[in-house]
Structure formats: C-alpha cells, structure tokens
Amino acid sequence: MILFDYTRAATVADALATGRQPGAAFLAAGTNLVDLMKGGVTNPERIIDITRLPGLSGIEAKPDGSLRIGALARNSDVADDPHVAKTYPMVAEALLAGASAQLRNAATVGGNLMQRTRCQYFTDAVSPCNKRQPGSGCAALGHATRIHAVQGWSEQCIATHPSDFCVPLAALDASVEIEGQGGTRSVKLTEFHLLPGDHPERETVLEPGELITALTLPAEAARFAGNARYLKVRDRTSYAFAVVSAAAAMILDGGKIGQARLAFGGLALKPWRVTEAEASLAGKAPSPEAYAEAARIALDGAKPTGEANAFKIELARRVAVRALTLAAAGTPARLPALPASPFGIV
C-alpha cells in the first residue's frame, strides 16, 4: 500500500472539493478499497475519509412512498431494517446472501455499488488488464473462468460485477443520487454501471470527484413486496460470490402476472436486467412455460467467453425459472435461514 495522505471530510462540500484532486479516493468502510490497496490493484495517493459525513446513513421512508437509503448506511443495517425487509424483501435477501456478517456490518451501500470486479487478472495487479491499465489488453480473454461474463462483454474486458445487492436494485428501478460540484443528479441504477465496450476503465457514470449520497427505491417498487425473491447459486453454501444469481418479482393480479421484474448477477459487468423478458410475462398466468419463455428471452444474445463459463447460460435460464417460481409462490414471512440459497427453503 502506498503511503497516502489522509483527510477526513467534515461535510459533503468538503469531500467534493478534495475528491476532485488527482489520485484521490473516497474511503467509506474500505472493505473493498483497502483490500484492493493491499493487493496493489489501486494505489490512491489521497484518501478522503467520508465515514463521518453527516446525514448519509439514514434509511428514510418518504411521503411519496419511496425509500431513501443514505450512501453510508451499512449493508447489515439496511438488511435488518424492518421497513426494508417488509417492503423490499428481495433487497434484504440479496444483502444477507452477500459476503459474511462481518463484512456486511462494515460495508456501505455506496461502497457496494462501487465494488470492483473479482476478475483474477484485474486483482493480480500484474496481468494485462484494460480496466486497470487501459490499452494493456485483456489477459482473461484467452483463459476465461467461471466468474467471467456471458452477457455484455467486449473484446476489451470480460469481467463481471460481483454485487448481490445491485441485482434487486436494478430490478426495482432504484436510482442513485449523486452529488458533484455542479449539484445533485439522479441516475437509474441500471444506467449507473457501464458495460466495458472500448473503455473498460470507465466503470460507472461517476465523474471524478462525484460522490454517491443516496439510493432511492421508488414507490412502485413496494408493490412487488408480496412476490419477490433473490436466488443465488454458489460453489459453497455461504460466503461465496454468485456463480449466477437472479432477482425475480411480480405483481399478481387476479391470477395473472400484472408486472414482472427480472435481473441477474454473475453474468455481466453490471446487474443484468432484461425488460423484454419481464414484458413477456405481463398478462400471463404464472406457469413454468411462461417462466421458461422469459428465461429464454433473458439469455438471448448470451455468449460464453470460454469453455469454463458456457454452462452459465443454461444455468442462468434455470435460475430465472426457479426465481420466478419462488417469487410467484409468495415472499416468505421470514427470510430463510440460508438467504437466497437453493437450500433456503422456508
């Protein structure tokens, strides 16, 4: 870890002013940043500690029915918030399926959005990696592993985004509140992360010095509360990144699906939401055939990046079908002991 300057920001304005300096990085919990600094993957010269910024850790139900979650709210606080658990159960389930209790107690909402890929060629700090060192190439491309992308990748980068939390957020049309020199702006979560294209070094729409201040779940999202699940397939029962995951939710209306939501984790460099698949479910009675059709549409255009991850396409279809089936069966009154696990049958 390089020797950095440490400053503690007292106000958001403070943070924005210092955050614009070259080589600056915002430190919240540090569960990802400190890890990357230890690995020499990222070497910020200036750490701006934003943990004391006032007013950024609240979870607040707004009069318009939306929910505002401060960027510094801890993952565990959000997951355990009774309103979140009741109204956005798949958000809680995804959070509780991520990492470990220790990490969730530290990690923040904003940090979760900003977490970097687990691509081995990115984290080893030496392999050619266009994300780490633009123009150096993509070492993963010749030896893709099970964690690499099958959707939305480019010849420049085949990494995936590791977040669980972002998957239901994408499905529920969450938006990200961003504070910058020019004021506040709001970006839909589905548009917050960028696909690699020709510029994998650009990972989000954040401009240098901009700060995430909150997340908002719209009022509409609450309507899915009764039928919403997050399902995460893993290589061990807990404390593992997703091989493939999905958030599925629906509004049932007189025995028919009024609206459906479907997003995936583990497939791409961003949470992978497919509105066409969602649309295919609207108006249909919940059925295995309808789910299979939605799953088929959702994986349209999927392409493996190597032998080792081709299986994820079929797996993702099955995960989608299962997640939709679970969602249709109704959100359980209490989250299962093994949240989001296929073995987490209530």
């Binding site: 870890m1 390089i2 020797l3 230890k38 020499g40 687990r118 081995q120 080893d124 030496v126 392999s127 070492a139 010749g142 030896h143 592993t145 099970r146 397939v233 893993r234 290589d235 061990r236 029962t237 807990s238 404390y239 593992a240 990144f241 091989v243 299986f311 079929e314 797996l315 099955r318 995960v319 079908v321 299962r322 093994l338 696990s341 296929p342 073995f343 049958i345």
Partner: protein, 746 residues
C-alpha cells in the same frame, strides 16, 4: 447431533473425555502462536514473490524500495547471506529443496525473490511492492499434460512406485464384469489458518526462533546445515501450531529467509507470509489422474484391481503423491497392480498433505468400486464386504487388529443404510431435492516413529514429563498429558507437562497420524523407567509396606505404589523418596517401531463413512446433509478429542469431494485463486449433522499403548462416499474432482 461422550475408561486419565488443557488460553486469546511474538527491536520483513513460473529475475528496483520511509534493508541474491550448504543439496533424509535467494532463478509462481526488511510491517510490505521485478520468462509447464511422463524412483516417503500381485490382465480377462474409469484430482493447498511465520533472532552463532513446526529436530537439523551451526545452538519455540496438515513438516523457504534477514540486519526479524504467498513455497497436494481397471466374477469377487496414477512433482525436487498405496492394503482381489508415473511441472514442490496418497487414491478407488458394484447389481456395502481383506493384500500379513466389519455394521445401522435403492435418482425429499447416499471405506496406516521423553517424580509427590511433542490441533497437550499422568500414577493436578520446545527430548515429527503413538509410547516408557526405579527403592526397603513385593508386584496410581496381591499395602511416592533421602527420580523413555512385529503384522486403522447428499435437480448445487463415520483405531486416549479429529478429517473429505481446487493459468503458471475467497474450503453452513462412532478395538501388537492414529483417516472414505452419494442422487458420475455444480446440470 449429540454432544454426550461416553468415557472409554482404561486408566485414571487415559480414556477420559477431558476437555483441552490448552483450552482456557486459546479461548482467551492468550495462547501465543509464533507471529504473536515481537521481541524488543524486532524488524518486520515482507516477501517479494515471483509473478512468473519459470525463468529468471532480470531486475529489482532496490533503490525505490530502500527510499521508502522505514525500509531498513532489501535482501536479494546480491546481498543475501551465503549459506553453509547449498539449499538444493539433499544429503539428509527428509530434505526438500527451497528457494532462499541464492540465485536469480525462478522455478515457480510465488517463489520468494527478495525480502524487504523495515521498521514497520506497512513499510516492509510497500517496499516489497516497490521492487517491481522484471523477468526473463520461459514458457512454463503447467498441468498433467505439460510434461514428459516418467516413472519416479519412489513415491510418497520412499514407497515403491510399482507393485504387482498376480496377473491383472488375466484377472480382467476372466472377470464376468469389468469397469474402467479415469478420475482426476486437482492440486490442493494445505491452507492452515496460521501462515508459516517465523520470528528469528541471533545471538552470535545461536539462533532463536518462534516458528510453528511439525518436527522440531528436523527443523533444527535443516537450519543447522544451512547456517553451519550446531543443531543444539538452535532453539525453537513451537508451543502451538495454527494447523499444519503436513505443510509445517519441514521448514519452508520463507522461514529460512527470516533467519537470513535477522542475520543480515543483526536484529530480530519477524516474517509472516501472506495467504497468497503460501501457494508455492509451502508444498501442496499434487494433482493426480488415476485410471482404475476392475474386474469381478458373478458373485462380486474382485478378480483384478489395477490402479494407474499419473501425478506431478516440481521441476527441481521430488514428492510424488502416492495415490496407489491405498489399493495395496484395502481390498482382497485375485490380482492387484499399482503403478505411478509422473511429470515435472513449473510449480512448487508438492508435499505430504493430510492423508497423503490415501486421500487422493481413496476417492478414485471408492468411486470405481461403486461403479462396478452397480454393474453387478450389488449393494455397494455388500460389494465391499464381499471383498473384505482378511489379510493384508500383497504382503499376506495378518492385521494386528481390524474391526472394519464392526465399522461397516455400526455405521450402516446408525446411518440407516438398509433398504437403500440400488439405482440412482430414485429419491426426492419433500422439497424436491434429489437425495442420494454413498459409502466409502476409510483406512490409514498405523505408524510410529522414533521419539524420546523424560519424566520425573519428586519427593513432594509431584511429577513432570517433558517431550518435544507438538500440538497442531490434534490435542497433544491433553492426550499426551493423560498418558503421562497414568504412566506416573499421578492425577493431572500433580503433573507438570511440558512440550513444544526444541530443548526437550526429540519426539519426532507430528505427522503420519503417528504422533500420539510415538510421543505417547515414549512418555509411557519414560514413566515406566521412573516407576521402575521407585519400585526398586520400595520393594528393597524393609521399612516399606511394599518390601518384598518384587518389581512386578506393584502398581502405580493416585501417587502411590500398591501391591497387586494386597491393595491394602501401599505407600505414597513421597514417603518412598523421603525415606530414601532422594529429592527426585528421573527416567527416560524411547519409542519406535517394533521391527519384529512389523515383519509379522500389517497395522492400519480402519473405518466406514456414510454420506447423504441433497442436490438441486435443476441448479446442480450440492449440500451434504448427513455424515456418519465409524472408525476403529485401537485404544482411544481421549474420545472427546478423537471425535474432533474424525470430524475434522471428514470435513476435509467433504472439502476434497466438493470444494478444493487450485487453479492456475497454464499460460503463465500464476494462480487464479491463491486466496481464501476463491480457493474454497468449507464454511460452517456446508457442514451437516455429523456423527463419529468410536468402535472399540484392542491391539496388543501395534505398540505398547495399543494406539493407532486418528488424524488423517477421516478424509479417506469420506470423499468417495460423497462422490458416490452425488451419483446416487443424480445418476451423474463426476470423475473430475471437485464435484462442482456445473458438472451436475445434466
């Protein structure tokens, strides 16, 4: 799961389910592991390791590292202390070649290529990064297909690579059913939770080390050779090991580098490798590709058992996973052959890892047996019983004891094996998961090495036993003290028990599941020596109530000697010594293999493991739902600790079957998962309800105490049982271990 443990009473202490004597220190965080020591003035060292697997280091930016605030010194091949002996010289048994900055050659990824020594850990770590090495890279040889196949001179520790008993081709030709299958097991890394730390300081030519080791005298000998000093001038403190599993059997290169860094700077140096730096210079379980050819007659009797193993060692040293060894002892077959071949790869040298050979071999042979049993339409357990080895195959020797039938019977009963459908994919639970069950036979040799101990009883009635034994979690602090207490006829309260230091008598290596046998029998012998001398004093003293009882006529217990023929006549140790004017009596004891007994008998521990798994029919995710193991391993010193050893072994078996696999990029030889997030070992949620049944077994041949080892046997049998259960659940036979969900999608 029950937590009641029945005492298996043999003496006052032996057989008692005592809790760990080191428990209070460990739960309070007061047990001092090597890296918990920080002598005054200690400098911190960090390794810079190679990012290539083959070639040489072209440059290191030493100036950049030295310019970093707090960096004291950078140790490279340019300035590293020259050693008294080439670290590649193998003139002493049990020597492994190590990379300790004697040249610029790179032989594997994560090989140490420099050490940065600094006033703080932070500075040392950043200094190592700033070295920014450049390399001359050669194409690495990675994977079992990358090298030229040859037959090694020996596998494991001196075992023959080929053994043939009968004509397997004839056996296969005459068989009613045959089966051929090829199984692969990956490279696995020990990943003890405690890294291979060393805190080294020199006083002239005397070296002091806080260092976890499974073999104090081996470490002393190795370091003495490298530094040209006397073994007795090396003092090693290793009271607690944070796990070893074989990887701490010999000093690893980084531990030697800590000694060199201390010598270079003249200050104490603490060097703790990072987790990823443990993937390379600390050994691993070599990968295998095993082809089993089996043939059986109509009745299910094995006519042929042919086990071919392809494994790998490093480009520069020898350790070949002896995966075929298990086949030479496990089942009766009209003909049996094993043959090991190997390739050389640009990896670190493999090493013994918990259940070396047996673990890898077991999963293959137990899988193959099930495949043939199914072809024969036979229950897998019946098939194993039909081929029960009454005498040891190959050698023809009788077993010193073998309660395997009882293990099968009790294990099957506890598990509820009876009525299991033969066909796969027959059972679903109420939630729709596929359910399958499987069995595997467990076995591990009952080894004993050479060891020594000393004991004394003092005039105040208290006693001491001392031995350079080691506790890496198996419970030596407790079990050996139990043996010591019974040997001296004292209660635990009157006993002082010391171990874990090189100043104490050499107790050999804590490995091969032989430490309790070795150290225990040495302790027992030392205690017998003391009691013998004490008896001599008493029975020849007219003032003693034991006068004339004869040396064999008394027993020692409760701090007294008592006449066997008249329990009312006894005397305290204290009274005997005081009357004789002796402050104490000292004794010594030795343990070692009994050559005559070894010539006449085969000695192994045995067991049977039953597994139930649930598999998601669509998603392929597997969860083991039940594990029952029944093991017979001679006398049980402490059932509480032994049960934990079995559990630990079974969890390693589960991990072998479902989780562990080191992945490398074949293009560079670099690891893709040299960390604990992606090199998966089981977490708590992976571990189901478990049961370990301790089958009583008496063995008067194996050694004086009648103990066999329990540390490794649990892995064997378990991995195969789980692989078989996954097949039984799904109908999919995965021969490429670990069994991950992608292989079960159908």
């Amino acid at each position: 799961m029950t937590s009641t443990i029945e005492p298996v009473r043999h003496g006052s202490s032996i057989g008692q389910p005592l809790t760990r004597r080191d428990g209070p220190l460990k739960v309070k965080g007061q047990a001092r592991f090597a890296a918990d020591n920080l002598p005054p003035g200690t400098l911190h060292a960090a390794l810079c390791v190679s990012k290539i697997a083959r070639g040489r280091v072209k440059s290191l930016d030493v100036a950049a590292a030295e310019a970093h605030p707090g960096v004291v010194k950078v140790m490279t091949p340019e300035n590293a202390p020259k050693l008294s002996k080439d670290p590649d010289l193998k003139d002493v048994p049990f020597t492994f070649r190590i990379d300790v900055l004697q040249n610029d050659k790179v032989r594997y990824a994560n090989q140490p290529i420099a050490v940065v020594i600094a006033e703080s850990l932070e500075a040392a770590t950043e200094g190592a990064r700033l070295l920014a090495p450049t390399y001359e890279e050669e194409t690495p040889r990675i994977g079992l297909d990358a090298g030229e196949v040859f037959t090694p001179d020996a596998v494991g520790v001196g075992a023959p690579p080929e053994q043939v008993d009968g004509d397997v081709e004839a056996g296969l030709a005459s068989a009613a059913k045959t089966f051929t299958g090829t199984y692969e097991t990956p490279a696995q890394y020990h990943n003890a939770m405690e890294p291979h730390a060393a805190v080294a300081s020199w006083d002239g030519d005397k070296l002091h080390l806080f260092m976890p080791t499974q073999g104090l005298a081996i470490a002393q000998g190795r370091l003495a050779g490298l530094f040209g000093i006397k073994p007795t001038d090396i003092h090693i403190d290793s009271p607690y090991l944070g796990g070893g599993f074989g990887s701490k059997g010999v000093p690893a290169g980084p531990q030697v580098l800590a000694c060199m860094a201390a010598r270079l700077t003249g200050k104490p140096v603490k060097l703790v490798p990072t987790r990823s730096q443990m993937y390379g210079p600390m050994g691993h379980r070599g990968p295998t590709r095993q082809t089993l050819r089996l043939g059986a007659d109509e009745a299910g009797k094995l006519m042929a058992l042919d086990h071919h193993i392809l494994t790998a060692s490093s480009s520069f040293d020898d350790f070949f996973e002896p995966a075929g060894r298990v086949t030479t002892t496990l089942y009766a077959s009209k003909s049996t052959a094993i043959r090991h071949e190997a390739v050389r790869l640009d990896t670190g040298t493999p090493l013994f890892m918990r259940g070396p050979g047996e673990a890898s071999g077991s999963v293959a042979i137990e899988s193959a047996l099930d495949e043939l049993a199914f072809d024969l339409n036979m229950d897998p357990l019946e098939f194993r019983l039909a081929n029960y080895a009454e005498v040891e195959p190959f050698s023809g020797k009788p077993f010193s004891s073998k309660a395997l039938r009882e293990c099968y019977a009790q294990g099957a009963k506890a598990f509820g094996w009876a009525g299991r459908p033969l066909k796969p994919r027959q059972t679903r639970d109420k939630d729709g998961f596929l359910v399958g069950t499987g069995v595997g036979t467990a076995t591990f040799p009952a080894l004993i090495f050479e060891g020594m101990a000393r004991a004394e009883i003092r005039a105040d009635g208290s006693g001491t036993v001392e031995i350079g034994a080691l506790d890496m979690g198996q419970g030596a602090w407790t079990a050996l003290a139990q043996i010591a207490a019974d040997g001296l006829g004292l209660g635990m309260e009157e006993l002082t028990f010391n171990m874990g230091s090189s100043d104490l008598p050499n107790a050999g290596i804590a490995g091969g599941s032989g430490h309790t046998a070795t150290a225990g029998n040495a302790i027992h012998a030392a205690a017998q020596d003391v009691i013998g001398q004490l008896t001599e004093l008493a029975v020849n003293d007219q003032a003693s109530p034991l006068f004339g009882a004869g040396n064999a006529g008394v027993t020692a217990a409760g701090g007294r000697l008592t006449r066997r023929d008249d329990p009312s006549r006894s005397e305290t140790f204290s009274a005997i010594l005081n009357r004789a004017g002796r402050a104490k009596i000292e004794g010594k004891g030795k343990a070692g293999a009994d050559a005559a007994a070894q010539k006449s008998y085969a000695m192994h521990a045995h067991g049977a493991v039953f597994a139930e798994v649930k598999v998601d029919p669509d998603l392929g995710q597997v969860r083991v739902s039940r594990l029952v193991g029944a093991f017979a391993a001679g006398r049980i010193i402490n059932p509480h600790l032994v049960r934990s050893q079995y559990y630990g072994g079974m969890i390693w078996g589960l991990s072998f079957a479902l989780h562990e696999k080191a992945e490398m990029d074949p293009r560079t030889g670099r690891f893709l998962n040299d960390n604990l997030a992606e090199y998966h070992v089981p977490v708590n949620a992976d571990i189901p309800a478990m049961e370990a049944i301790l089958i009583p077994e008496e063995d008067s041949v194996v050694n004086t105490l009648g103990v066999k080892g329990v540390g490794e046997i649990g892995i064997t049998g378990t991995a195969g049982a789980i692989a078989n259960a996954v097949w039984h659940a799904t109908g999919i036979r995965v021969r490429d271990i670990p069994i991950t969900l992608d292989k079960l999608l159908g």
